[in-house]
C-alpha cells in the first residue's frame, strides 16, 4: 500500500480553458438513477464516497473536514476514509432520527447520476424497495473475502422484484484477496447460479476495490486479467429502460385538466409509455371514446412528437369527456380495465395488514378504495421460501388477491411499472402503508357481471311503504346494544315497519362461525355483516345491527357501502367501568383474569365514533327512553 495519499479538489481543466465548450458538452448529458445495496461492511459507503470524490463532488472545505475526521474516527489510518462522507448522518442517528433513503448526486461528462443510498438494517426491505422503485440500475456489493451471502441474495431478490433489469455485481475488497482471479470467478459463478434461480437473465460482474480505487473510474493495473468495463464506464454507458419504454404503446395517465378559458381544454400528464405524434388516434379510458390529438402543448411552442418521460398537455379534435384518473392510450392498443387482481405487496407500516379493511389504493393518477384478501403466502426474503400468512407485518412481502370498488385502468407491473405499481394508504391515519405490484386481473372480474334485476330496490322499498335503513349500534360489550336494539325493533314492528335484527352473538353462531377475535377476524366479521345488511336494504328492510364493531375504519367501510342517508351510526356510550360492573355475561371477569384474549376495552381498543348520527348516554337514559329517541329520529 502506498502510504498516505494527497487528496484535493481538481476541477475539469476544460472549465477554465473553455467554459462554453464545457457547458455545451454537459447540456447533452443523460440521467441514470441507481441504488447501491450492501452493508457498511461491504464497503458501500466507501464506494459512494469514492464515486463522489472521483467525480469532483467533494470540495476543499469538505476534504479538510474529512481529513480531520478520518484521523479522529476513521478506520483507514492516515488515508482519507471516504465512508465518512456518506456517514455524515451518523449524528442524526444518535439523535434518534430515522434515516431511510438518502439521495446523492454526481455527474460526469456523459451522465448525471442520482444514487439512492439506504443505510440501516432494521427496516432494510422497506427502505431498499423505496430506493429501488425509482432506480434504473442496482449495484449489488459483496465482500470478496465472503462471497455471496444471505444479504447478497436478499438484495438481488428485492432489486429483481421491483423490476430493475440492470444488475451490477461489484465484488469489492479485491485487494484483500490479492486480486485473485480464481476466487473472483468462483464468486461470480456462485452468484450466477443464484441469479438464474430467481429469474435474473443477465448481470454485469466487476472486480473492484472501493478503498484503493481499483476499477472504479480507472482501470486497475492490479487486475490485468479483467477485460470488462470499469464501474464508472459501465454506469456511463449502460442502456436505460426509459428509452425502451418509448417502444411500447402510448399511455398518458391524466393528472390535471387545463381549462384557462372557454377556448382551451387540455389534458396534462407525464407520458408513461410510448411515443405520440400530433394527429395520432387515441382512446380515452375508461369511457373507451376515441379521438385525435390536435396539439401537444408546451410553453414556447407546440411539439410534433413527445415520448415517455416527458410532461405534456394534449388537445383533442373532439369534445371527449376526460378527467383526472383517466388514461389516454393508443387507440388500437388500450390497456386493460379490471377490479380484481393478484398483486405482490411490500408492507411498510408498523400496523400490520388487516385483510378485509378498505384502504386507498393510488395507481398512477387513479385513487380507489381497495380491500385485500388474506395473503396467499408470504416470502421469506432470506431463503425465498413461501410461508403461510394471515397478515403482513412491517417489511413483509406477500402475494394477495385484492378487489377495488371501481375498475382500475392498469397494465401488469412487469410490462409497465407506471400502470402496475401502486401504494396503499390507511384511510384514517393517511399513512402510506404498502407498495404493491399488480400481476394480472383475476378472471372472475372479467366474467362476473352485475345481474340486471327487473324488480329494483326502489320497488322493494315501495311495496313495504318505507325507506330502507341500517341502524348500526356500536359500543362496548355489556353497554346495552342488544337490549336497546330489541326495544327499537319491537317499536318499529308495532308501527308496521319491516325490520330485521342482526345480532353479534347470533351471527357468530352461523355465518361467521369460522372467525375468531383477532383484529383481522373482527374486520372480516364486520365486512360480512355489512354485506348482508346491504342486501337486506336492497330488499327494502330496516336493518338493525348490534355489534361491538370497535374500529372506526370498518364502520366507515360499512357506511360507504350503503346508499346516502340510509346509514345511522348509533353509539351506545357507556363508561367502561359501568359495563364492567354490570358484566351480564361474566366476560369482563374472564378477560381480566386472562382467560379471554383480545377483549374490547381490556386488551383490544375501542375507537368511539366521532360524529355518530345518534349518541345514547346510558348514564342519563333508560333503555326505554333510548329506544324512543332512536325511533323518533328515524320516523319523525
Amino acid at each position: 500500500m502506498d502510504g498516505p495519499r494527497e487528496y484535493s479538489y481538481r476541477a475539469d481543466e476544460l472549465i477554465s480553458r473553455d467554459i462554453e465548450a464545457y457547458l455545451a458538452r454537459h447540456r447533452h448529458k443523460s440521467l441514470l438513477r441507481f441504488i447501491t445495496c450492501g452493508s457498511v461492511d461491504d464497503g458501500k459507503s466507501t464506494l459512494i464516497g469514492r464515486l463522489l470524490y472521483d467525480s469532483r463532488m467533494i470540495f476543499e472545505d469538505q476534504l479538510a473536514e474529512l481529513a480531520a475526521d478520518s484521523r479522529r474516527v476513521g478506520t483507514q489510518g492516515q488515508n482519507i476514509d471516504f465512508a465518512l462522507v456518506v456517514d455524515g448522518l451518523a449524528a442524526e442517528r444518535e439523535q434518534g432520527i430515522t434515516i431511510d433513503v438518502a439521495y446523492r448526486f454526481f455527474a460526469t461528462d456523459k451522465r448525471k447520476f442520482i444514487v439512492a443510498d439506504t443505510p440501516g438494517h432494521e427496516q432494510y426491505t422497506r427502505n431498499m424497495v423505496t430506493g429501488a422503485s425509482t432506480a434504473d440500475l442496482a449495484v449489488i456489493l459483496t465482500d470478496a473475502r465472503k462471497g455471496v451471502l444471505t444479504q447478497t441474495r436478499r438484495h438481488s431478490y428485492l432489486a429483481h422484484l421491483i423490476g430493475i433489469r440492470n444488475l451490477v455485481l461489484a465484488v469489492n475488497k479485491m485487494d484483500l484477496i490479492g486480486y485473485d482471479p480464481a476466487k473472483y470467478e468462483a464468486i461470480v459463478a456462485d452468484y450466477r447460479r443464484f441469479a438464474e434461480s430467481i429469474g435474473v437473465q443477465a448481470f454485469t460482474p466487476i472486480p473492484i476495490s472501493g478503498f484503493l480505487g481499483d476499477n472504479i473510474t480507472t482501470r486497475s493495473t492490479n487486475m490485468p486479467w479483467y477485460t470488462g468495463p470499469v464501474l464508472m464506464e459501465h454506469l456511463e454507458n449502460v442502456d436505460v429502460d426509459v428509452t425502451a419504454a418509448q417502444g411500447r404503446p402510448f399511455r398518458l395517465p391524466v393528472q390535471w385538466v387545463n381549462r384557462p378559458n372557454l377556448d382551451f381544454r387540455g389534458f396534462s400528464g407525464l407520458i408513461a409509455a410510448g411515443t405520440l405524434r400530433q394527429g395520432d388516434a387515441v382512446r380515452v379510458l375508461p369511457s373507451g371514446k376515441t379521438t385525435r390529438v390536435t396539439r401537444i402543448v408546451t410553453l414556447g411552442a407546440d411539439l410534433q412528437q413527445a415520448v415517455a418521460g416527458q410532461s405534456v398537455t394534449l388537445c383533442f379534435a373532439d369534445e371527449v369527456d376526460c378527467s383526472r384518473g383517466d388514461v389516454i392510450a393508443r387507440a388500437d392498443e388500450p390497456p386493460q380495465v379490471a377490479d380484481q387482481f393478484e398483486a405482490t405487496l411490500v408492507w411498510m407500516a408498523d400496523e400490520p395488514l388487516l385483510p378485509g379493511r378498505a384502504y386507498w389504493l393510488k395507481l398512477a393518477t387513479q385513487t380507489v378504495s381497495a380491500t385485500i384478501q388474506i395473503p396467499k403466502y408470504q416470502v421469506n426474503v432470506n431463503t425465498l421460501e413461501h410461508l403461510a400468512a394471515k397478515t403482513l407485518e412491517l417489511n413483509a412481502i406477500g402475494v394477495c388477491n385484492l378487489s377495488t370498488d371501481r375498475p382500475l385502468i392498469f397494465e401488469p407491473y412487469e410490462e409497465n411499472p407506471a400502470l402496475g405499481g401502486f401504494i396503499l394508504i390507511d384511510k384514517l391515519s393517511n399513512a402510506t402503508v404498502a407498495a404493491g405490484m399488480l400481476h394480472f386481473a383475476l378472471r372472475r372480474s372479467q366474467n362476473v357481471h352485475w345481474q340486471a334485476l327487473d324488480i329494483s330496490r326502489g320497488k322493494h322499498a315501495d311495496m313495504k311503504n318505507q325507506r330502507p335503513a341500517v341502524l348500526w349500534f356500536t359500543g362496548l360489550s355489556g353497554a346495552g346494544k342488544s337490549t336497546i336494539a330489541n326495544l327499537v325493533e319491537k317499536k318499529l314492528v308495532r308501527m308496521n315497519r319491516h325490520t330485521f335484527l342482526l345480532d353479534g352473538d347470533n351471527v357468530r353462531h352461523g355465518l361467521n362461525k369460522d372467525l375468531g377475535f383477532t383484529d383481522a377476524d373482527r374486520v372480516e366479521n364486520i365486512r360480512r355483516v355489512g354485506e348482508v345488511a346491504k342486501l337486506m336494504t336492497d330488499a327494502g328492510l330496516i336493518v338493525i345491527t348490534a355489534f361491538i364493531s370497535p374500529f372506526r375504519a370498518e364502520r366507515k367501510m360499512v357506511r360507504e357501502m350503503m346508499a346516502a342517508g340510509e346509514f345511522f351510526e348509533i353509539h351506545i356510550d357507556t363508561p367502561l367501568a359501568d359495563a364492567e360492573a354490570r358484566d351480564v355475561k361474566g366476560l369482563y371477569k374472564k378477560a381480566r383474569s386472562g382467560q379471554l384474549k383480545n377483549f374490547t376495552g381490556i386488551d383490544s381498543p375501542y375507537e368511539p365514533p366521532e360524529n355518530p348520527e345518534i349518541r345514547i348516554d346510558t348514564t342519563h337514559m333508560s333503555p326505554e327512553e333510548a329506544a324512543d329517541l332512536i325511533v323518533e329520529k328515524l320516523v319523525p
Binding site: R27, E60, I97, A102, A107, G247, T275
Partner: protein, 308 residues
C-alpha cells in the same frame, strides 16, 4: 409499421427528465391539495421553480398565488425582480410581514441574525400559512444543498403547529405521492429535490430565465465586517466609526437579507462566467449566508421548528 416505431428512440437529457419530474410534482399537488401556494424568495432557485410552474400549467396562469414572507431587509434589486415577475407571470402575490417583528422593529443589526430570521421568516411563514389556510406550500430547496437534506422527502408533512415529525414521514415510491392529510396539517413540497446547483444554473441559461442582477458582478458599495463582504444597499445600514463604504467588484452566490448575505469578489458578469466561477470554486456553496455560521448544523433544528 408506424413511423415512430421505426425511429430511433429520443434520448432525453438530464435537464429534460428533471423538468418533467418537477412539472409532474407541481401538477400532482394542484390536483390533490385544496389550497396550494408557492413560496417565492426571489433567488435563483425560486426563479427556476416559478418558471417550471409556468410551464406546467401553460397556457393557464399557475393556479396558486406566490407568497413572499418578507423581512423588509432584502436587497432593493430583489424587490424590483419580484414586481417584474408578478407582472410577467400574471400571478397573485401575497407579501407577508410578521406583525410582531414589524412592531418591535426587528432587524439584523440590533437583534442578530438568529432572532431576525426566527421572527421574520420562521414565525412569519407559519403565520402566513395559517392566516390564509394554505395546505400545501412549494419550496425551492434541493437535496444537494446540505447533508441533512439528502434524505428529505419531496412531500414533507407538517403536523399540528407545523411540527416536522421525522417518524411520520411517508415512503415515496415511484412517482406516486400520497398527498392525503388531516385538517390542520400541511405539506411542504420540493419540486427541485433532485436538482443540483449546476442543474439549476444550466437550466437558467438554457431557458433564459430572468434572475436578480446581483448574481452578476458589478462595482457595488461595500464594507467588510466579521470576514464577510457586506453591501451597503440602503441608508439603514449603520456604519461603525471609521467605516466607509468602498466600491468593490462583487457578486452574490446566494441572496437573502442584505445585512446577512456575504458577497464574493468577482469579475463574472455573464452566466457562463458565473457557472465557471462556481465550478472552479473549491469550497461548498452556502458560505455566504451568515445564518449557517451562526448556528452550525442547525438546519435540522430549524426544520423541526417549521423553517424550510
Amino acid at each position: 409499421m408506424r413511423a415512430d416505431q421505426a425511429a430511433d428512440p429520443v434520448r432525453l437529457t438530464h435537464l429534460q427528465r428533471l423538468e418533467a419530474e418537477s412539472i409532474h410534482i407541481l401538477r400532482e399537488v394542484v390536483a390533490e391539495a385544496e389550497k396550494p401556494v408557492m413560496l417565492y424568495s426571489i433567488g435563483k432557485d425560486s426563479a427556476c421553480m416559478l418558471h417550471l410552474a409556468r410551464k406546467a400549467f401553460y397556457p393557464a396562469i399557475p393556479p396558486f398565488p406566490l407568497l413572499h414572507v418578507d423581512t423588509t431587509w432584502k436587497f432593493q434589486a430583489m424587490y424590483e425582480m419580484r414586481e417584474r415577475m408578478v407582472q410577467e407571470s400574471g400571478m397573485q402575490l401575497i407579501v407577508y410581514y410578521n406583525p410582531e417583528a414589524k412592531a418591535r422593529n426587528i432587524n439584523p443589526f440590533e437583534h442578530g441574525s438568529a432572532l431576525h430570521t426566527d421572527l421574520w421568516k420562521t414565525e412569519g411563514l407559519k403565520q402566513a400559512l395559517d392566516q390564509y389556510g394554505f395546505d400545501a406550500a412549494f419550496g425551492g430547496a434541493r437535496r444537494d444543498e446540505e447533508k441533512s437534506r439528502a434524505k428529505e422527502r419531496v412531500f414533507s408533512f407538517r403536523f399540528a403547529n407545523h411540527r416536522w415529525d421525522p417518524k411520520r414521514q411517508r415512503p415515496e415510491l415511484w412517482n406516486l405521492y400520497n398527498a392525503r392529510k388531516a385538517k390542520g396539517e400541511n405539506i411542504r413540497v420540493f419540486p427541485l429535490s433532485n436538482w443540483t446547483e449546476l442543474d439549476v444554473w444550466q437550466y437558467i441559461q438554457l431557458e433564459d430565465i430572468p434572475i436578480v442582477p446581483l448574481y452578476f458582478s458589478a462595482p457595488r458599495p461595500t464594507v467588510v465586517r466579521d470576514g464577510l463582504i457586506l453591501m451597503v444597499d440602503d441608508a439603514r445600514f449603520p456604519l461603525r466609526p471609521g467605516e466607509r463604504p468602498e466600491l468593490r467588484s462583487i457578486r452574490f452566490r446566494t441572496l437573502g437579507c442584505y445585512p446577512l448575505t456575504g458577497a464574493v469578489e468577482s469579475t463574472a458578469s455573464t452566466l457562463p462566467e458565473i457557472i465557471q466561477e462556481m465550478l472552479l470554486t473549491t469550497t461548498s456553496e452556502r458560505q455566504g449566508r451568515a445564518i449557517d455560521h451562526d448556528q452550525a448544523a442547525s438546519m435540522e433544528k430549524k426544520k423541526q421548528e417549521g423553517y424550510f
